[in-house]
C-alpha cells in the first residue's frame, strides 16, 4: 500500500483528530494563561498567606508529573463523586499543570520591571490600577512572552497525553489506525509530521509575531 493510498483512506480520520488536538490546545492555553496571571500575582503579594497558597500550588503541580495529574483527574476524581468528561479533565489537568509553570514566568516578569518605573509612576500620582495598566503591564509582555512561547509549544506536545484518557485526538487516532492496519511507520509518521507542521509553521510564527508586537509597543524594536 503506497503512502498516498494510506492518506486517501485514513487522512480524513487523522484530520478529525487534529481538530480535537487544536481544540485541546486552545482551551488549555486559555486556561493556563488565566491561572498563570492569578497565581503569578499571588506569588508577589505582600500577604504571606496568599503567597504561601500560591507557592504550595506551584510546587505541587510542578513536582508531580502531568501524566499522573491527568490520570488522577480522570480516574480518581469519580471516587469523590466528581466525574469529568475525558476532554474536560484533559484540558483542566494540562491547564493547571502549565499554569504552575506560567505563574513562575509571570512572577519573574513582574519582578523584572525596574523599580524606578514603579517609583516613577508613584511620584506622578498614578492610581495603582492606572500604574499597572499603563506602566507595568506593557513592560511585562516583552519580558514574559519568549519563555511563555516556549511553554506554549511544550503545551502543544503535552496535548498528546490526553489520548491516554480516551480523548479522540490526533495521537488517539494514530493509535487506532495502527491497531487496525499495523502500518505503524505511516500512521505515527504522519502524526509526527502534523504536530511538527502545527508547531513550526503556525504556532511558533504566531508567537514570534506577538513578541515583535509587544516589543514594538514599548519602543524596543526586535530583530
Amino acid at each position: 500500500m503506497s503512502y498516498f493510498s494510506f492518506l486517501a483512506e485514513h487522512g480524513a480520520t487523522l484530520l478529525l483528530g487534529t481538530i480535537t488536538t487544536l481544540k485541546v490546545l486552545i482551551c488549555a492555553t486559555i486556561l493556563y494563561i488565566i491561572i498563570s496571571i492569578i497565581f503569578g500575582l499571588m506569588r508577589v503579594s505582600n500577604n504571606s498567606t496568599i503567597q504561601g497558597v500560591a507557592t504550595v500550588y506551584i510546587e505541587f503541580f510542578r513536582g508531580t508529573s502531568l501524566m499522573v495529574q491527568l490520570f488522577w483527574f480522570y480516574y480518581v476524581l469519580p471516587f469523590f463523586g466528581l466525574t469529568l468528561e475525558a476532554f474536560t479533565s484533559g484540558v483542566v489537568a494540562i491547564g493547571l499543570n502549565f499554569g504552575a509553570y506560567g505563574a513562575e514566568i509571570v512572577r519573574g516578569g513582574i519582578l523584572a520591571v525596574p523599580k524606578g518605573q514603579w517609583e516613577g509612576a508613584h511620584a506622578l500620582n498614578f492610581s495603582p490600577i492606572k500604574r499597572m495598566k499603563r506602566i507595568i503591564i506593557p513592560q511585562i509582555f516583552p519580558i514574559i512572552l519568549p519563555p511563555a512561547a516556549n511553554l506554549t509549544v511544550e503545551l502543544l506536545k503535552a496535548t498528546a497525553l490526553v489520548a491516554l484518557v480516551t480523548v479522540v485526538d490526533l495521537t488517539f487516532e494514530a493509535k487506532q489506525i495502527n491497531a487496525i492496519t499495523w502500518l505503524s511507520a505511516q500512521c505515527f509518521g504522519t502524526a509526527l509530521l502534523i504536530y511538527y507542521i502545527i508547531s513550526r509553521f503556525f504556532l511558533v510564527p504566531f508567537l514570534r509575531w506577538l513578541e515583535v508586537l509587544a516589543a514594538r509597543k514599548v519602543g524596543k524594536e526586535k530583530v
Binding site: 505541587f60 508531580t64 501524566m67 469523590f80 499495523w182 511507520a185 505515527f188 511538527y196 511558533v204
Partner: protein, 225 residues
Amino acid sequence: MNAEWRWDFAYQILPKMLWATLNTIMAAGIGYAIAVVVGLIFLVGQRTPFKVVNIIVREIIEFIRSTPLLIQLFFLYFVGPQFGIILSAWVTAMITIGLHFGTYLSEVYRGALEGVPKTQWEACRALNFTTLYTYRRIVLPQAFPIAIPGMGNYLVGIFKDTPLLSTIGVAELFHAATSVGGENYRYLEPYTMVGVIFLALSIPAAIGIRKLERSVNKAQGKVKN
C-alpha cells in the same frame, strides 16, 4: 464506589510501589546519561565547518523538539518490527528519551558556550593558546556553571516524563500503579501514592540542584545572590 482512603490497602501495595520507584529512578538515570552524550553530539553537529550539515542537524533538532515524546515512543516501538528490528520496551524507551532530551540539552550547552564572554576567546588568542587548551582550561570551566541549572532541570524533567514509558510497557512506577489499580479496582490509593512519591523525589532534587549551582558558582569565585 466509596471515596474512603484505605490505609491497609495503601500499606499492602507500598512495597510493590517502592520497588517500581527504583525502576523509575533507573529509567530516568540511564535516559539522562544517554541524553547528556546525545546532546554533545547534537551540539557538535551544529558547529561543523559544513553549513549544510549544520542546517540539517538544526532542523532535526527542531523536529524532535516540536513533536510529542509519546508519539516518538510509539513510532520507535512499533515501526522497528515493521523493518525487522525488534527492540525491547526498555531499549526503545531509553533511545527515545535520550534523543528527545538530547536536543534540549544541546540547547543548554549552546547557551552555556555562548554565555562565556567573547573577550575570553580573544584573550586566549592573544596569549597564543591552542583551541583545545582554550576550551579545556578557559572556556569549559566557565561554561559549566552556566549549564548546571538547565542540565539539572532536564534531569527532573526526564524523571517527570518517565510515566509515559508505561504506555509501551516499561514496568516503572506508573505502570505498577495502573496494574495494582486494575487488579483491585481501586485507583485512588495507587495514583495518589504515585503523586506523593514524585513530589517526595522531585522537590529534594530541585533543592539539591539549586545548592549545587550555588556551590559551583562559589568555587568559580562568582557568588550569586
